[in-house]
Symmetry: none
Subunit: 229 residues, 2 copies
Amino acid sequence: MSRVLVVDDEPGLRRALAINLSARGYEVTTAATGAQALELAASAHPDVVLLDLGLPDLDGLDVLAGVRGWSDVPVVVLTARSSAVAAVDALDGGADDFVEKPFAMDVLLARLRAALRRAAPVAGAAAGAGEAVEAGRVRIDLARREVLRDGAPVRLTPTEWHLLEVLVRHRGRLVPQAQLLREVWGPGYGRETNYLRVYVGQLRRKLEDVPGEPRLLVTEPGMGYRFEG
Amino acid sequence: MSRVLVVDDEPGLRRALAINLSARGYEVTTAATGAQALELAASAHPDVVLLDLGLPDLDGLDVLAGVRGWSDVPVVVLTARSSAVAAVDALDGGADDFVEKPFAMDVLLARLRAALRRAAPVAGAAAGAGEAVEAGRVRIDLARREVLRDGAPVRLTPTEWHLLEVLVRHRGRLVPQAQLLREVWGPGYGRETNYLRVYVGQLRRKLEDVPGEPRLLVTEPGMGYRFEG
DNA sequence: CGGGGGCGTCAAGGACGCGTCAAGACGGGG
DNA sequence: CCCCGTCTTGACGCGTCCTTGACGCCCCCG
């Protein structure tokens, strides 16, 4: 699951958070000082940071700035001071959220989930760019919905693309005919295997070097088809 | 600057927020009911939504779900109930932040800034590095809402611009018809593909060298449209 | 050795989607 | 109150895609 870095100088709270978070499946790292926090933020690669502003060695805002200098990891700030100034400073300093102590654990957990959820699509988009599958001379980019052969775009019809997409998502694994039919044509199309024959043939003609000897779209007689990565 | 949609049934608070936000350069739209909120969320294209959970007609959580069904616009939830349950429900329902009434205006503004700041890089990342996109003889500046062709400004109607904006933000990627319709016209417009045909045609006539052979606004038959960078 | 089922190919029809044009509805500003 | 730009809606031609049937092949099995 997700990695959380808990930064607090108070051992009791640190321990309470660690126990609560671990019990919910988070992987927890703890830091007691600002210096340690900066170090662990770099080495432990947390998915979210819980940062208490009242640290003994460094100002919490400096820790925040230190992290923000090189990372966009979401930071949820904790503070004992109930001053509104602290909240504004923290948020404008790059914090993603702000919780005053004392806090209800379930609220903190909800804010933590929200911070993680927001960050997820960003990482997903970055990873999505490299989500292209390369196999022989063809390159299939699921995110862009684009397929290239020797660098040249290949035109696919909607059904062709849909079928290829399902096969690529299960790349390397055998996909039963009935499953392909249901995923592409919808439920109720469990036996129209002739559809598959036609469309697999069209895909092979567009993608394979020798359509008669398929190396990408392999048929497993009597069972289904497999995309070879 | 940024557009804010304020949703609250209390006229006094609505007015106070509108004045405060306008004074700080935000463009403010207000809604008094949940139904109105859903409508304006689709038509006004806000950059952030301030949503009071205590509405007369709909449950605030339903409004939140309605918006989340088709848009990723950041939502900051306000509530009079000081219950922790409300906060957890709202955050898990897709809200980005949660503020209890009564609140300090500067804290609310800081949370608003934080929500906007977080959302900005997402849109920016999807669009790529720069703010201005250059493709052939046309240059599109998303930040300035300006499009030039051979250096000369091109007049676009609001709808034309919205459509182009969505396509450019996803540049290089195929955008499904249903997604385009929902993002430009709002939810409930998933099947009016004739709108797309008309407006894509208008954009091509204004941007393409040969509207009959589009190179910028490419149609992927049966699937959607793609802006070629 | 003969038969049958699954698979690949091809072709044709009908259906559907797309681009285009134009007229009417709507709304905001003068 | 009128005028103008914009949005909506309908109709039409054309090209493409999906469906469906027929046919031959190969492999497996009897």
